[in-house]
Amino acid sequence: MTIYGVALLAICTLLGALLGDVLGVGLGVKTNVGGVGIAMMLLMAGRIWLMRKGALTHGLKLGIEFWAALYIPIVVAMAATQNVVAAVSGGPVVLIAGAGGVAICLAATALLIRFSRPPIARHNRAQEAHAARVISGAAE
């Protein structure tokens, strides 16, 4: 049943928020500490548990996937309800933080790729290309 999926998602979200709040109190800060992240891990654990029990039905999945599919539209609504006028007067923080963050991450990617590539990998190109086809669904 679809509602089972929605209910599972709701329970995970509530438990995550609760644990995040409890963690916040325990750590002496007045905030929710990682509640959404905790809820995501609970949901991933729930999915594995249901799969092992063979209870991961189409309806149940639908109840969760519907909300996952609505996540970008909800983010659009969130963006449309922020105090952008005040943010714009805040100056070029956005441009600098965004562009700088991308530049640093690109540099780190280049370094990580260079240092992580074992010499053997060069011979495995064909195998990797095949794996890529398998994952993208173009081959068995």
């Binding site: 990682g34 996952a68 965004g98 990580l112 992580s116």
Partner: protein, 255 residues
């Protein structure tokens, strides 16, 4: 008519906002397809349009909640509020396959850790340089430099102000657009040409729409590998930004 329509929108606030966001999404995907030839993902354009709507809503009313200040669109406040947002973000974790994740292995883990911490430090530094001295604002803007999801999730967990949240979202969206459009140009020079490099790239750059868009424009075979690590990025960010990273900022700033 002048009375009926506002009342209709008032009574059906949430339903009206579904319709409005649907129209915004449709316009955005048309712009993406016909004006940018798919180079910039429709979702990024939609978020930018959302921010623009919020700007004009704020100008028109002088209020603080963007387009929701216009009574006709008050329902947007509910659809875009923290409750449904967190609910939908948690739902995205359902798509993550843990067995797939193990394939990314150590390289993916290192890339994810760096991809969370590096942009955060930079974004937090920029926020400080622009005069933000409270830990909550600095953390929220730094989190926005991770992705446009991590920013507002962190901001509302910590209780950041709306202007800071807007800055945080805009930073994340700008990052996503840069990754989408810039990747094909830098792919060769950073060595982005196989599965391993795509996984490192996905973990470091984060933003799923940016990574998949950028890799698709570079080499479509690399998309699933980049997406594999990138999907963990927002989850990891939502977990550590309002906790470990916030505590680190508090320890440095003293409050």
């Amino acid at each position: 008519m002048n009375e009926i329509i506002p009342r209709l929108f008032n009574e059906h606030g949430l339903v009206a906002s579904f319709a409005l966001v649907g129209i915004v999404m449709w316009i955005s995907y048309q712009i993406s397809k016909h004006l940018t030839f798919g180079r910039i993902h429709g979702s990024a354009i939609a978020i930018v349009l959302g921010l623009i709507l919020a700007y004009f809503g704020g100008l028109a009313t002088g209020g603080k909640t963007g387009i929701a200040d216009i009574p006709l669109f008050a329902g947007m406040g509910l659809l875009g509020g923290a409750m449904l947002r967190d609910f939908a973000i948690v739902a995205t974790a359902f798509e993550v396959d843990v067995a797939e994740a193990k394939k990314a292995g150590l390289l993916g883990a290192i890339a994810l850790a760096l991809g969370t911490v590096l942009p955060f430090i930079f974004g937090a530094g920029v926020a400080f340089a622009f005069g933000y001295t409270d830990s909550v604002s600095i953390t929220t803007i730094g989190a926005g430099a991770i992705t446009y999801i991590v920013g507002p999730v962190t901001g509302s967990a910590l209780g950041a102000s709306s202007p800071v949240m807007a800055l945080s979202i805009a930073t994340g969206v700008f990052k996503a657009v840069l990754v989408m459009t810039g990747t094909p140009f830098v792919a060769r020079s950073i060595g982005l040409n196989d599965a391993r490099s795509a996984m490192a790239f996905g973990g470091l750059m984060g933003t799923v729409s940016g990574v998949t868009g950028g890799l698709a424009a570079t080499d479509p075979k690399l998309v699933p590998y980049g997406a594999l690590t990138a999907t963990f990025h927002s989850g990891l960010g939502c977990l550590v930004a309002p906790s470990l990273l916030y505590f680190a900022v508090r320890a440095i700033m003293g409050a």
